[in-house]
Symmetry: C2
Subunit: 155 residues, 2 copies
Amino acid sequence: MQDSSVGQSSPAWRTTRQRLAVMGALHDCPGFTSARELHAALEAGGATVGLTTVYRTLRTLERTGHVDVVREKTGERLYRPRPTDGHRHYLVCRLCGVSHPVDADAVERWADGVAAATGFAEVEHTVELTGICDHCRPVEPDPGPPVWEREAPIH
Amino acid sequence: MQDSSVGQSSPAWRTTRQRLAVMGALHDCPGFTSARELHAALEAGGATVGLTTVYRTLRTLERTGHVDVVREKTGERLYRPRPTDGHRHYLVCRLCGVSHPVDADAVERWADGVAAATGFAEVEHTVELTGICDHCRPVEPDPGPPVWEREAPIH
DNA sequence: TTCGTTGCAAAAGGTTTGCATACCA
DNA sequence: TGGTATGCAAACCTTTTGCAACGAA
């Protein structure tokens, strides 16, 4: 009987220079950030952390519930340290990445209702909200993403 | 942004053997399907269509609003022909991919409310529901590992 | 000392692109 | 005929894994 999993089974968390750097960089970012951006920020800040380690650290933080994850349209994962209580839904600015926790009670209840009505079991829901925040709206910060106004002139 | 029937700025839609095959296979699938599965189904059915063409066709159909898209946990895209009226939300079975359109009115209203309350503009929402459908539920040898809280605390 | 952690390189998995050719309108 | 669609291979991108060396406890 390999008990070995209750109490102190999981590997102990070792506080290394790299992990501290990743968590620091994560908290320094204003909104959701990708592993790649995090790695770049670390390099720019003088920290030497392998990309693999960034991914592994984020993965661990995700499993332990210390970060929230959303997904870009491309499938890229974006991370954000989880606030105190464990909010799960955010309204994220498409331009600057800043996030705004929202109360998703209505959605939770709706999802539960749908689950009950359809006969599906183990229903999980993902809700992602994106928009343009107050700060980004007035001007065109233009970080490089596609601008669709380049379409052929009409008339 | 109409580009499906006008030959002005967008190329005209040419009805080719490959495109008909892709659309046929798409309609033959019971639920959401990936490009890879679609390609395999086409090959199994005797149709010779390149994987590239499958991707390009699906992308065009997506842009013209003829298919709905959801994303797997892995980031993989799953496609489904859009029903008549343009439903946008589904409850998808994680095991067999069968989908069940749901009335998402409550979510729409909630999203609109959040948009108004936060000051964000151009708010878009993504809602994805997954579960285990009636048909897949009986035989589920899934052990279910709800033991994640065993992780050592982070400091 | 122990054994979890790191980092490089390479693989994996999905999607897109370059370019010459086939084919619809 | 003209120009779009196709297809193969290779590029791309993000994420994961193998394995030897490192370092926290």
